[in-house]
Each structure stands twice: as C-alpha cells, then as structure tokens.
Assembly symmetry: C2
Homo-oligomer: 373 residues x 2
C-alpha cells in the first residue's frame, strides 16, 4: 500500500511516499470487527503465515500460531501482517530511494520508533477500512508495538496480546544492541551506511551482530542441551585427544551453529535496518514521559490484555512482563498473564509449546466479535 | 626467568627459549613452606599487587587481596605472581620472535592450555627452589589453573583457592568466546594473525571482543543500578525529548561505558593473545579424560580446597562451583565453600567485598607452615 501523505515521526522528521508491505489471512467480516493485527520483531516481516504458490512449506514466522484451525484461527479472524518502515523485507527502508533526491537512503533513512510504526500501521488500517482491531498481537519487539497500540489508539484496540516482551530495554539489552551496532558500523564495508554505492555489504559486522543475537535468544539450558561442549563430528571422533589446538578452526558444535547463523543472516539482512530496529528497541519506553512511572503511562489504555512470558527468557525475562501486568492491574485493567515454563529462552515465543499455543487459542476463543464494529 | 629447555605442550608442539615474567611479594621462609602462587585470568599479569617506584597507587589486579596485613598477608606469605605463556604482558607470547626463524610468532605461536601454563609455573617454582606450595590461588581462569595444579602436581599443593571458576566452560561461555574471536579474526587489520608485519592492530575486533566481555563480567542488576537507561548527561538535559534519534551517536551511558572500555583495551591488548587465552578457556575440561565424570577426574587431588562463588555471577555461576565442591566431597576431600551474595556479577572476585576478603583472610590464617617443607 502506497502512502503519499507525509508521516510525521517521533524524531520530528517526516517520511513521505512510502510503501507498507502487508499480507492478510482470512476474511474481514461485514461488521469489520474481526481484524487482528500481528506486529513483527527484529528479523521478521509481514509474511506471518501461509504458503506462497511456489513453496512446499510455509516460511511464515508465526505459521504455527496463525492459520485455519490454529490458535489465531483464520477461519474466524481477519489477520493482517505488516512489514515495518525501515525494514528490508518490502516496506520502505534504507535500501529505497529518497523521493526528493532519488538517492538510496542508506544511513539517511530517518530513525523510526515503535510509535512511528504503530502510526503507520494505523494508517494502513484506515485504508483497509478497519476502525477497531479485535486484537493486536506481537512477541518481543512486536509485543512493544502491541502495547504501544493500546496507548496511542486506546479506542481502536479491544485486546492486546503481548508475548515475551518488556516495558523497555534494560542496560544489558541496550549493551548487546550497542555491541552489535558497533560491529556493523566499524566494518570497513559499512562506509558510513552508504555501502550500497560501493557495491559491498558489511557482512563481517552483520555476522557478529547475528551471533550475539542468537546467544541472547537461547537459554543457557537449551544451549547446554543442544550443543553443550560437543565437538563437531568430524573432529570429535578423530582420536583420544580430539582437540585440534587451533584458535580459528571450528571445533565445538556451538561455534559451527553460530557461524552458520551469522553467515546466513549476512546474506539477506540489511545493515542499516539492523541499526534502525535495534535503536527502536532502545528508545521504546512509554514510562519515560511519566517520570518512569509505568502505571501512570498505562493509565490511558482501554484494551484487555493477555501477557505471556517464558521462564528461561533472559532477554525479556518474566519479571519484565510482570512489571506490565502490575502496572495494568494498578489501573484496574483486565489482564490475563501466563508464565510458561519453557526451556528455550526468548526463542520460545516462536516455538511449538502446546501450553502456550493452547493458551493463545483459548484467549482468542473468548474474544467476541460485536455485531457493530 | 629464561628457560632454554623445551616445554612440551598438550598439543604436541614444544616451546623453547621462553621467558616467564614474575613478581614476588614477601619473603620465602627458611623451610620454603610459605609460598603462595597466584594465577591470573584473561586480562591480567604477574603484577598482582604493590606499587612500582614511579607510581602513586597500585595497578596490581589483586592489590586489595594481597599485601602486608591483607587477606593474603605478605608479612607471612611469599607470594608469586606469574604471567602466563602467550600473554602480552611480559612472558613469551605471540609478539615475540621464534628462536629458530627470528620471525615474530604472531598466529604461529602454539596454542597453550591451562595445563601448559601450570607446567610452566611448576618449572618456575623448581628454579625458585620451591617444592611445595602452601597454596595456589586464582579467580576465573586463574581458578582453573589452581584446580589444574591439584591434578597435575597433587603433592606440590597443600591448599587450592578457587574463586568464581568452573570445571569447564558451558556452551554459552564458548559462544561468547567464539563471537569475540570472530570479531578479531574478521577484522581486516588482523591479516591472519600477522598484523605486526603490516604495522597495524585489529582494534575494531578487540573493541568488540572487550565490549562483549564486559557485558558478561557484570550482572544484570549492577548494570541496571550503575547505568540503567540513563542518558549521557550532555544529551539527557537537552529537552523534553532527550533522544537524539540517531543510530550511531552515544546516547545511553551504558554505550559510553562499553565504548570506553573497548577503546582502552584495544590500545594495549594483543589480538593473538586474546585468541589464545579464550581457547585455553574453551579447552579446559579435566573431566573429559574420564568420560565427563568430574569426581573421577578429581580423584587424584590431595590438596585442601577453598571455593568461592558469587550469587550474581552468570558467567561462572555458583552452580558451576558447586559441581567442583560435590566432586571433591565425593572423593572425601576437605572443602570449604562459600557463596557470596554480591550484586557485581563475575567482576565481584576482583572487588572489595568485606565478607569475601575476610573469608579468604580466615582461610589463610588457618593454613599452617610446616617446619619441614
């Protein structure tokens, strides 16, 4: 969907002539009361679920959650997946051309925030003729968008489903983001963000960024169970002393896994997008305009909430979700909260845990679709 | 101390014509029974304590622990600090010349292990005429060396003090090491480890490595308390909306802290040393020759032990120290174990916590110095 009118951003800058890539699943009912907006996290897009014509299996990032008969049942709900501004998966981003200059934005793409994304999503809904969402839903950074929706458009959201999220990043989260950004920015192929002009990609930095990310997505437990101190097969079987005594060869399986993830990521993800999205994460902090008081910040919400966290998620720990729950309860909002005992760390929000998927299913089964939207 | 005779390494390679830098504090008694060896961790050296002639204050890394009247009282103990092989602080390392070729070792410096360091330290003690140590002591990687001493030279160690350490690295530890190594190795200034020839230093990689390290040394709690989401003063005071909406400027204090630490480190630390030391950490695993059975691995120890861990240390968590304690107890060894409730994470082992310093003091007060060594 193309938008010609300028979008005023939190930074004071504006974006005009931008496009939002989106997908929908299911059918909007006559009352326009069954729309569910799904917001994505760092490495994802509008392609939430389903299979494209030429594909054997879905590459949708929440295909286990969204679809006919699934927790978010597209036989009942009209689900919208939208790619955020600044992304590299279809919506206008740093790889596109500035409408005035005709130059690729690169590092000049304006810094966008969670609030900016929500505003852009609201315009998309306007165009789609949807006044009120039955629900807005997201995990991690997507959960921040869902929370932000209830603040910026309190009357347009009936339910918010906030999974594995937080009311803001803590110092450690920001620290990991900063290391990843430094790795990208100090890669000589970054060229101040204008690497497109040079026909190169700062792959070294992207690899490091992704490796760091992966460590924080997994729990210590699942890493130990999945990889432990195991050596790569070819190495491990060799002799009584299987170590190769090198500093650069891949010897441990965890090294192999991380390098593979880093390599893959560096092939498709845009470096400027990485900077933008991590900064949006850093900046999100609805309490900051209320002297750090989250209860005061959430006083204007009208929605009902489902919050879900995962016991071994150390990136967005259950304690951070409980902060949101407490702040909502202090405002006498209706909140359902579940802490799923799952070993997978932050990644759990994308995985098949029956308790988690059934919980979301039950919640959605209890959302009504009023006759008049 | 120079050593001409070759040291056979775990890898099968040998090192000859090497030098070990060391310092001593206090006086060796007539019975030679009051020697305490202190082993260092990643970013430290033989300079454990005390003040050099031209210094106003000590730069010794354990000066709060070691000195006249301190926990390890140098009025009573003859303390030895030794710099490990492969380091960049005085002992033979990658920046030195290979005795055969006259070329700087660089990436050709042989991979050294905790066991190799212990063997080299034992030779130093031979030269100093010290047969038996009253105690060997270290924190983190230094604790691994102390533990290794009790295995390789069980009759030469009466007490081992193992602080904030582990019986091996887990997958997450190895993962962080690997990311740091990749950042260094993929820095174009690394030149396959032979950057000295090119007159450059892979500072970008070293900075990233150090930033990652610092995140893992601190606890989540102490990071939140020390930095939280605070903005740099100059930025934070500016306006109602203090964000600058940039992806590369330093805005949060935690960013400023990490960049400063990274910059400082990259000025003095050798990249090849970083690779070597992190690999020595990865490889250490005394149980691996016993099918992973740590009790079996520690069966040969004769020393008495003090183990100390810190509640918020997520790099070398208390659980890892308890594994060592359990394995020793199963072998009916005499073990004192303390878990210090400290907020500082892994860094706590270097800090002034009265309970910790007093504990070590008491332990050392109860070590006797036999008449006959």
């Amino acid at each position: 969907m193309h938008f010609a009118e300028p979008l005023r951003l939190q930074s004071g800058a504006s974006l005009r002539d931008y496009t939002l890539a989106y997908e929908t699943y299911g059918t909007l009912n006559a009352e326009r009361s069954n729309a569910v907006l799904i917001c994505h996290a760092l490495n994802a897009s509008h392609h939430v679920a389903g299979v494209y014509a030429d594909q054997a299996r879905s590459e949708g990032w929440w295909d286990n959650m969204v679809g006919p008969g699934k927790s978010v049942d597209t036989n009942r709900w009209f689900v919208i997946g939208v790619n955020n501004l600044g992304s590299c998966f279809g919506s206008t981003g740093p790889m596109h051309r500035h409408p005035d200059t005709g130059e690729v934005y690169g590092a000049d793409f304006p810094v966008v925030t969670v609030e900016d994304w929500v505003d852009a999503q609201a315009r998309l809904l306007d165009r789609l003729g949807i006044d009120t969402l039955a629900a807005v839903m997201g995990g991690s950074l997507g959960g921040m968008q869902a929370l932000s929706w209830t603040l910026r458009y309190p009357l347009r959201v009936r339910h918010a489903v906030v999974v594995a999220s937080a009311p803001n990043l803590n110092a450690e989260n920001i620290a990991f983001n900063e290391v990843a950004r430094r790795a990208i920015v100090t890669d000589p192929d970054f060229h101040g963000g204008h690497f497109y002009r040079h026909g190169v990609v700062p792959k070294r930095g992207l690899r490091i960024a992704r490796m760091i990310g992966h460590i924080t997505y997994l729990s210590d437990d699942v890493m130990n169970e999945k990889f432990g101190r195991s050596l790569r097969e070819a190495v491990g079987q060799a002799s009584a002393d299987p170590y190769r005594y090198t500093t650069q060869d891949i010897e441990f399986q965890i090294e192999s896994y991380l390098r593979y993830q880093g390599d893959k990521f560096s092939e498709y993800f845009d470096a400027n997008t990485y900077l933008l999205i991590t900064r949006a994460l850093d900046y999100f902090d609805p309490a900051r305009h209320h002297g750090g008081d989250l209860s005061a910040a959430l006083a204007g919400t009208q929605a009902r909430f489902l919050l879900v966290s995962f016991s071994t998620d150390w990136r967005f720990s259950p304690a951070r979700s409980r902060e949101i729950v407490s702040a909502l309860l202090r405002n006498r909002r209706e909140v359902t909260y579940a802490e799923i005992d799952a070993p997978h760390g932050h990644d759990a929000f994308l995985l098949d845990d029956p308790r988690y998927l059934n919980l979301v299913r039950s919640y959605f089964e209890n959302i009504d679709t009023p006759e008049a939207a």
